[in-house]
């Protein structure tokens, strides 16, 4: 190789996710003895915040076309930057934007990309980052490497912890003015989704239910329990798509909301791959189901085989009891 690729870079159009990536990137950069850089756009402001959260360098891209995320413009800008500085590793925030951007960029750079990576380790020679990725809805764990550089990966929200901000950290800010071709698509309109669905994605505790709830009126059992534990309410796909008991943006799953709470209650949810993919970043999963063979039990930390109509009120009582002592 003519010139060795060096340095760990992170990018996300979502600043909170960029901070999480910096936490992960810092560990990798330290092990590689390399610099950690954040790529950001000027309109985001806050280059200092990136430095405080672990970046040694911030590339601040300045261009009016970059003020809203658009895959062509970001691919143009990032390609130029990567070709100039040749980073070794590039972690991209796994938002929907990030997930359409990373493979397009990787293809332009003719390099490998590992989407939705869940764990990173270095090989013995520190040449490659071994990346773990989960397929088949959580049934298979694969260890993959990119054979070419930069090694690109996307990382989902909630998977790594940001470092606490350290105001004394020093770093460099480098302004860049990338050449960008006019974008091929224009955004005509943006409609915000309901506040409830947004809250669900960020909720620390979620109570979700599926077909095990037999009637629409019985949702009250779930809602009451959610209130007791201070949780947001979600559901499985059939509840929203087939029965319409809750709006479609409140179902949890691959094509619905991907969630990463610290505690997830799956009540009367059988555990189709579609659903499991949406909850796999949860820290603790509790499953309540009357079918002992339900696939959800394979993917839960705590399981209660039983009638949710009895178990949930009992659970609510036990939690209220907790506050009493």
């Amino acid at each position: 190789m003519a010139q060795e690729n060096r340095g760990v870079w992170i990018f996300s159009e979502l600043p909170s996710l960029a901070f999480e990536l910096l936490g992960k990137g810092r560990v990798l950069a330290d092990r590689l003895g390399a610099e950690l850089a954040a790529v950001s756009v000027e309109t985001d402001g806050g280059a200092e915040a990136y430095i405080q959260h672990g970046a040694d360098r911030v590339f601040l891209m300045s261009s009016p076309t970059l003020s809203t995320f658009q895959v062509d413009s970001y691919t143009d800008a990032m390609t130029a930057l990567v070709n100039e500085h040749r980073p070794d590793v590039l972690l991209i925030g796994g938002t929907r934007n990030g997930l359409e951007f990373a493979p397009r960029l990787a293809e332009r750079l003719k390099t490998g990309c590992i989407t939705e990576a869940t764990r990173f380790e270095l090989d013995a020679e520190k040449n490659f980052v071994l990346m773990e990725r989960i397929t088949y809805g959580g049934n298979l764990v694969e260890i993959q490497i990119s054979k070419s550089k930069p090694q690109i990966a996307t990382v989902a929200k909630g998977l790594c912890s940001p470092l606490p901000a350290d105001p004394s950290r020093k770093g460099e800010v480098e302004k860049v003015e990338p050449k960008i071709k006019p974008p091929t698509t224009n955004v005509l309109e943006t409609k915000q989704k309901s506040a409830k669905s947004v809250r669900l994605a960020d909720a620390p505790v979620i109570v979700a239910f599926g077909r095990g709830v037999r009637k629409k009126e019985d949702m009250a059992v779930i809602e009451e329990f959610a209130q007791t534990v201070g949780a947001a309410v979600g559901c499985s796909r059939p509840i929203a798509e087939d029965l319409h008991w809750l709006p479609e943006d409140q179902y949890v799953g691959l094509s619905g909301q991907k969630v990463s709470p610290k505690l997830y209650f799956a009540c009367g949810i059988s555990g189709q791959i579609q659903h499991l993919t949406g909850i796999r970043n949860s820290r603790i999963i509790v499953a309540i189901n009357n079918d002992p063979k339900a696939p959800i039990f394979e993917f839960s930390d705590y399981a209660v085989v039983g009638d949710l109509y009895q178990v949930i009120p009992a659970l609510a009582d036990a939690i209220k009891e907790l506050s009493r002592v």
């Binding site: 062509d72 997930l99 493979p103 990787a106 005509l188 178990v311 939690i319």
Partner: protein, 263 residues
């Protein structure tokens, strides 16, 4: 309006089992189906043809069995199908797959729009669409939940995490679709019978003029070093007893985990 729709055949996910002793996924005897969002892409392609005229060509890279998926696409209303099958395609990652598909597109030449599912049901990489669009130097519109065509103008609604975006683009382009976009039709018996008479081409690496370094293991940019079935990834602690007892045990455990606090 000529539409190419990309189809991936996957194992019926609900029927997959794990062999706990060998830590492998058991695929033997598991039926194969069209990956769910690809089915929506076929439906959308056929609806576009019904409205604007033209032709729908379904393309799939995969084993011989993938012919079944293509036949289903034909029964749903596609006019022609191309199976890209060659033992040398084995080991292709998303880059090599996009290479093979791109080579097929150069052979088909005449198209205005490429449709595909936003993700495949088995691997969820979200990569092949954007990579193919890049190779073909086409604009991409991802996660579409609605597509409207006016001449060469495309208006699409996109589903992002917290918002729905309406975007405008131009043909030719690649659009990946979400499940919400439509309800795929169930082909009638007549349509299934008619499908067997529609053209089905099979192209190999040689037909596509692809070299060894563009496909399969050699063409892949990502290497899978290890693949293990998840056994015991979660704690799987069963709480026994009456609802009251189980609930009390559970609450105790959740407090110890630090995920539940007294309010």
């Amino acid at each position: 309006m000529n539409v190419i729709v990309l189809v991936k055949q996957v194992f019926q996910s609900a029927d997959l089992k794990i062999d706990r002793s060998t830590k492998t996924l058991v695929t033997q005897g598991v039926s194969r189906v069209i990956s769910e969002t690809d089915k929506n892409a076929i439906e959308e392609a056929v609806r576009i043809k019904e409205k604007h005229g033209g032709k729908v060509t379904a393309v799939s890279m995969g084993p011989r069995e993938a012919k079944e998926a293509l036949r289903e696409a034909l029964a749903m209303g596609a006019d022609e199908a191309c199976l890209l099958a060659d033992s040398r395609f084995g080991g292709s990652d998303s880059h090599a797959t996009a290479n093979v598909l791109a080579a097929a597109l150069t052979k088909i030449i005449d198209y205005d729009l490429i449709l595909c599912g936003a993700y495949s049901e088995d691997l969820f990489s979200f990569q092949v669409g954007p990579r193919l669009a890049e190779i073909c130097n086409l604009p991409q519109i991802t996660y579409a939940t609605k597509i409207t065509l006016e001449g060469t103008k495309v208006i699409a609604e996109r589903d992002l995490e917290n918002e729905r975006q309406v975007v405008e683009g131009r043909l030719p382009c690649l659009i990946s679709v979400m499940r919400e976009i439509n309800e795929p039709r169930l082909p009638t018996l007549m349509a299934i019978m008619a499908a067997s008479k529609k053209p089905m081409n099979t192209w190999t690496a040689a037909d596509l003029g692809l070299g060894e370094d563009e496909l399969g293991f050699n063409g892949a940019l990502v290497e899978i070093l290890q693949s293990t079935a998840v056994v015991g990834g979660r704690k799987r602690i069963m709480l026994q007893g009456e609802p009251g007892e189980a609930a009390a045990e559970l609450v105790k455990a959740l407090v110890q985990e630090g995920v539940l606090k007294a309010s």
